[in-house]
């Protein structure tokens, strides 16, 4: 059975991403999962879109955050919509929890990668079901794992070290948000594709809550910024 990608050509494969979202950071806290991402969609090096929702609730028990190609993220949401719809149609008291959704996504991502037509995303899937907290990540080549805190993209390099030092079991909601803000602030300073409009969302046994977007306070009054050429006269 020749697949479409054999008969047509490379134009049917994802070769590079166009509109991308940057890091997503998430952690487990006392009541569930906290997840943060900014609302930027970059078009290459241009910070083109500034109101993209990169965190979405899935079903009753999960939250999905995505970085990477936004159109692929939208397609994933479409798949998950169908998945949750069929799950609800059973109408039998059973429902797909975050672990099941994460594994489903892993299979989707890995299968696409095997066909050399990846969904160009790194996804964070968190949720709570029956008191069990779950937080996992899966990326475009199908690498997936679970942990107490995860991040995608530059977040992996810049924020995981912070989280490793400062995360502990039973963070309160306020502590969790402060920690996430610290991580997002570092990303805002250091990641060129970050925009200063972040969304935080949480998911607990009761359900998902997406907080309204807001901006982080930043500090630019360093003397080195004010006098950048001190110590190197003549430079700019």
């Amino acid at each position: 059975m020749a697949s479409n990608s054999d008969l047509v050509s490379d134009t049917q494969r994802t070769l590079y991403p166009y509109v991308t979202g940057t890091s997503v950071v998430a952690l487990k806290y006392k009541d569930g999962i906290l997840m943060a991402a900014d609302m930027g969609g970059s078009y290459g090096s241009t910070l083109r879109y500034k109101s993209i929702d990169r965190l979405k609730p899935i079903g009753k028990h999960s939250l999905l955050g995505a970085s990477g190609e936004i159109s692929d993220f939208q397609e994933i949401l479409h798949y998950l919509d169908e998945l949750i719809l069929y799950d609800n149609m059973w109408d039998d008291g059973n429902s797909l929890g975050p672990k099941e959704v994460h594994n489903y996504l892993t299979q989707v991502m890995y299968n696409r990668r095997n066909k050399f037509n990846p969904l160009w995303n790194a996804l964070v899937l968190g949720g709570v079901k029956n008191g069990q907290k779950y937080l996992g990540m899966v990326n475009m080549i199908g690498i997936n794992f679970e942990d107490n805190h995860v991040a995608t993209g530059l977040g992996n390099h810049l924020t995981r070290p912070i989280l490793r030092d400062e995360w502990h079991e039973n963070l309160t909601f306020e502590e969790g948000v402060k920690l996430l803000e610290k991580c997002m602030r570092v990303l805002l300073y250091r990641d060129r594709s970050a925009v200063n409009k972040i969304q935080i969302s949480k998911i607990t046994e009761e359900g998902a809550t997406l907080f309204p977007p807001y901006s982080l306070k930043t500090y630019w009054e360093f003397t080195a910024f004010k006098n950048p050429t001190v110590g190197a006269e003549g430079s700019w």
Partner: protein, 279 residues
């Protein structure tokens, strides 16, 4: 039910609105040897009567493990039952692979029922001639379902199918209200007693019956013959001692137990207890 002009095809309705082929398939279930299922909040026990064709042959396997959390007992055309068990195992394993989570038994049962329904609406197919008692766990606890050749399925607290199942059902009807809170051991005991009812006079030995259990924290497994025989002995004694003396309190007592087992063994040695080939 007698032969008539509307029963050749499964796709032919009778004027009375019946599909005779489907009903004949359900007859096949009634002819098979008995299978019994009961459940509590946390456990499901399946038991069946194993009748070998002759003393030389082994008995047919009628209880199948479908997954760690689901098992099925069949009555009727065992070949059809085997094929459906394979389908069920496949569905479970595929679901586990994709979601890393066990397939809820309620969903498996619906898929099975839909599969059976297809065979009642195709002129080139015939209905499956097997009734399935599916016992398994899902988020809401332990469940027992009965899947019919017609494509219907029902949930039960306790049920029995196959030949002489009515006797077992009568016993279960008396006791079922207590099953929800039963312990695992009580449930197995009730299953064995129900099995004995459908043997109708014949002695209950572990060589003629098979018992399987699944429960919260306990994967589905078939109990081995020794365990089953021990359980039978525990309550068989009560029955044997009833005719002579009444004041003896029921269940396990040491002195009468010795006599009981003695009598049991005597009887066992006397009758040609040639256990059918254990394959």
């Amino acid at each position: 039910m007698f032969r008539n002009q509307y029963d050749t095809d499964v796709t032919t309705w009778s004027p009375a609105g019946r599909l005779f082929q489907v009903e004949y398939a359900m007859e096949a279930v009634k002819q098979g040897s008995a299978a019994i299922g009961l459940r509590s909040k946390t456990h499901v026990v399946l038991a069946c009567v194993n009748k070998a064709n002759s003393e030389l042959s082994s008995h047919q396997k009628k209880i199948f493990k479908v997954d760690d959390h689901i098992g099925v007992a069949i009555a009727g055309l065992t070949a059809d039952g085997r094929v459906l068990s394979r389908y069920m195992r496949n569905e479970c394993i595929n679901y586990s692979y994709t979601y890393e989570s066990p397939l809820p038994v309620g969903r498996l049962v619906v898929q099975l029922a839909d599969k059976a329904q297809v065979c009642t609406q195709r002129s080139w197919k015939r209905p499956y001639g097997v009734g399935l008692l599916v016992g398994g766990l899902d988020e809401s606890g332990a469940h027992l379902y009965y899947n019919c050749p017609s494509g219907n399925y029902f949930e039960y607290q306790a049920f029995a199918i196959g030949s002489r199942s009515q006797a077992a059902k009568t016993y279960l009807e008396r006791k079922f209200e207590n099953f929800v809170g039963s312990s695992r051991e009580e449930l197995i005991k009730d299953a064995l007693i129900a099995t004995r009812e459908s043997l109708q006079g014949e002695k209950l030995r572990s060589s003629v019956c098979t018992v399987a259990v699944v429960g919260v924290g306990e994967p589905f497994h078939i109990l081995d013959q020794e365990t089953v025989q021990k359980l039978i002995d525990e309550f068989e004694i009560v029955r044997e001692d009833e005719p002579p003396a009444e004041p003896q309190p029921p269940a396990e007592q040491d002195a009468p137990a010795d006599q009981g087992t003695g009598a049991d063994q005597g009887a066992a040695a006397a009758s040609p207890d040639v256990a059918p080939m254990d394959i």
